[in-house]
């Protein structure tokens, strides 16, 4: 086991010592995400598009809508309830705010007024808008309470009115109820930047894994393998060490790329545990593919040519370069036979539909099935001696 770890750490050191590794592992995927991410969105605006559904139709709801419109952080448009849901489903808008009837009565009775804010889980500006609604409601509430109190107690001490207002303010912490779409089949696909980010991360991890698994071929070519086999290192230890190094290298790349897209492109990845499982199974599948290709060829050059051909073509089929919505039905069916499709499915489940571990079981299972096939073929073809 000590030898396996020594092999893994040495391979890690070897890859991260080369400056070109950083370009390939991190520079290229970020660039591709940036380029292709902007391609199919058609000049997306920075401001989120929010629909307001007014079921109250009172002065009070008008005033709230006015407040929201006055704030310049979102585009506000009015629709009825059905249309709003339709538009949200089609991902034409970021979310919608529904104001239920009876706003004034609830406020007067000091109950939580019925305001629902529905948005996709990946919408990062949600909390800001929530706060904005809360603030606007607070203002309205103060106004309402103040005026009613004032009319009831005309001529009374202003001190009393003010005290009342302050106490009302304190008790109105949750002026509205916001609802996240935690799990919804309403949203089908990822927004473009998320999809490209996930896709190109997968693609460049595959390319890196191809290079990494190529070290076995390289070792055979250079005579390093000969020397490895002349040391008292068992085949198990050696294979374990190599697999460990591939897995570690892959995780470092995946993790860093996910963090970069989180902060540079605002991509929301969703449930942490489910992501760990999903990424691990994508990695295993990719390592399997690398070993599979390595088993079919003799030299690292052949492996690079063959492997990259396979990777790029399956990435195109699997929806890495462009959304599958734009391709014909037959291609959509073919896509299901490449691993990348299932990787992206998994990410969509987590990032867009707010899924958890249970929801990615199918993609993870299919990825592991691919892995099993690749590994069985790949490993049996590795020759010792």
């Amino acid at each position: 086991m000590r030898r396996a770890i020594a092999v893994a750490l040495f391979e890690l050191k070897r890859i991260f010592q080369k400056p070109q590794s950083y370009l390939l592992m991190f520079g290229m995927p970020v660039l591709f995400t940036f380029l292709f991410g902007g391609l199919f969105t058609g000049g997306s605006e920075a401001r989120p598009n929010i629909i307001v559904v007014d079921n109250d139709h009172t002065n009070l709801s008008d005033a709230l809508i006015g407040e929201l419109k006055n704030q310049n952080i979102m585009k506000v448009s009015m629709e009825n309830s059905a249309q709003a849901m339709e538009l949200f489903k089609d991902q034409k808008v970021t979310g919608y705010i529904r104001i239920e009837a009876g706003l004034e009565e609830k406020l007067m009775a000091n109950e939580t007024p019925g305001i629902t804010f529905v948005h996709s889980p990946s919408f990062t500006g949600a909390s800001m808008i929530e706060e904005l609604i809360n603030e606007s409601m607070l203002k309205l509430m103060v106004g309402t309470t103040a005026s009613s109190t004032y009319s009831e107690r005309t001529g009374n001490d202003r001190q009393v009115v003010q005290e009342d207002i302050i106490s009302k303010l304190a008790s109105s912490e949750s002026a509205i109820e916001t609802v996240d779409v935690t799990k919804s089949k309403e949203l089908e696909s990822m927004d473009n930047i998320t999809a490209r980010s996930a896709g190109f991360t997968i693609m460049f991890v595959m390319i890196t894994m191809l290079l990494s698994t190529g070290v076995i071929l390289e070792a055979r070519q250079t005579g390093v393998w000969y020397r490895l086999m002349s040391t008292p290192t068992s085949r198990m230890e050696l294979l374990l060490g190599y697999l460990l190094s591939f897995f570690l290298i892959g995780w470092i790349q995946f993790g860093i790329l996910m963090l970069i897209s989180r902060f540079a492109f605002g991509v929301y990845w969703g449930d942490l545990l489910a992501n760990i499982i999903l990424v691990s199974s994508i990695l295993l599948c990719t390592i399997g593919l690398g070993l599979f290709v390595a088993g079919l060829v003799k030299t690292t050059d052949q492996q690079a040519v063959f492997g990259n051909l396979i990777i790029v073509s399956t990435c195109m089929l699997g929806g890495v370069y462009w959304p599958l919505e734009v391709v014909p039905d037959i291609m959509k069916q073919i896509a299901k036979f490449v691993p990348q499709y299932w990787g992206l499915e998994g990410f969509a489940e987590l990032a867009v539909r707010g899924g958890t571990l249970i929801d990615v079981i199918v993609p993870v299972g299919i990825l592991l099935a691919f892995t099993a096939v690749f590994l069985v073929v790949g490993m049996t073809r590795i020759r010792f001696e």
Binding site: K13, K18, T222, G223, V224, R227, S230, T231, E385
Partner: protein, 311 residues
């Protein structure tokens, strides 16, 4: 220390190692001399447990390579014919890595790496990447990597191939020092001088078979004709060759159609030289050069196979 018995290996129908047997005592320095493709590397790979043998047995300290390969690999240090190092890593990193593969712990490996670098004379280049090294320096680290775990038996497969004379001398001296410190050594080469300089016992291998085995003195005594007089002539004639063959003390004449070279095996070459030359001239051959070669491994190989070790 090492016993090799009736070793055989075929690739497909091609028998590469046909019948190789020899034993080596502890502290010995054994040379395996043979031309390209003789089966030296194949024999060595079988001794190290790298490729399985079809027939025979290899015992290292009475342990069978077949039965306990790991135990034996720990005792042996192999210097492969190729440079088996990671070119983008430093000399030190390479040594540390190979040390760990031989089971050394971190601190021991560090200490050994320093010692080995010192020993092969590359301490000042420790942090430089292997790819920046000259051919000779790479060869030295290639040897160093096999010394990390202080093996009982060091097996070197043509460690001086393709390097300049200076590096070569450095390596030969290094090997000599190791042997003097008590390390048992197997040294393969097709350079007779290297084996002559380093090894007390020699096995000559050709076409997968050991054709001569013994100490250098023993082998040279086996040379029936003693020395060789090499004649280079302008016009070779069979009559002339026959005439020389009839002369006293001449045991054998080797020549090929392609070259104008005659190798005359003869005892007391200095006494016989005049007669041989005059006979040749008398028979109408024009002599370009004459060279007397004292009995050595090269002439032995020539006599046994009719070919020279290298072209």
């Amino acid at each position: 220390m090492l016993e090799v018995k009736d070793l055989k290996k075929s690739y497909g129908k091609k028998a590469v190692v046909k019948n190789v047997s020899f034993t080596i005592e502890k502290g010995e320095s054994f040379g395996l001399l043979g031309p390209n493709g003789a089966g030296k590397s194949t024999t060595i790979s079988m001794i190290c447990g790298l490729i399985p043998y079809d027939h025979g047995e290899v015992l290292v300290s009475n342990h069978s390579v077949k039965k306990s390969p790991m135990l034996i690999k720990q005792k042996i240090g192999v210097v492969p014919q190729e440079i088996a190092l990671y070119p983008t890593m430093s000399a030190k990193d390479n040594l540390l890595f190979w040390g760990k593969m031989y089971g050394l712990t971190g601190s021991v490996a560090k200490k050994r790496a320093e010692e080995v670098l010192e020993f092969v004379g590359l301490k000042d280049r420790a942090k430089d990447r292997i790819e920046t090294f000259s051919g000779g320096m790479k060869r030295r680290i290639n040897i160093g990597a096999a010394l990390m775990h202080e093996p009982e038996l060091l097996i070197m497969d043509e460690p001086t191939v393709g390097i300049d004379p200076q590096s070569r001398n450095h390596i030969l001296e290094t090997v000599k020092r190791l042997n003097e410190k008590g390390m048992t050594i197997i040294y393969t080469s097709h350079y007779m001088e290297e084996v002559e300089y380093l090894c007390n016992r020699v096995g000559i291998i050709d076409d997968g078979e050991v054709i001569a085995l013994g100490s250098q003195a023993e082998l040279c005594n086996r040379l029936a004709g003693g020395s060789v007089i090499q004649l280079i002539v302008e016009n070779k004639s069979d009559e002339a060759i026959d005439a020389i063959k009839q002369l006293e003390n001449v045991s054998q004449i080797l020549h090929t159609d392609e070259t104008n070279q005659l190798e005359v095996f003869v005892k007391n070459p200095h006494d016989r030289l005049g007669e041989i030359v005059s006979t040749a001239v008398h028979q109408g051959m024009k002599i370009v050069s004459v060279d007397i070669k004292e009995p050595n491994l090269e002439t032995l190989f020539l006599q046994l196979t009719g070919r020279s070790l290298r072209d």
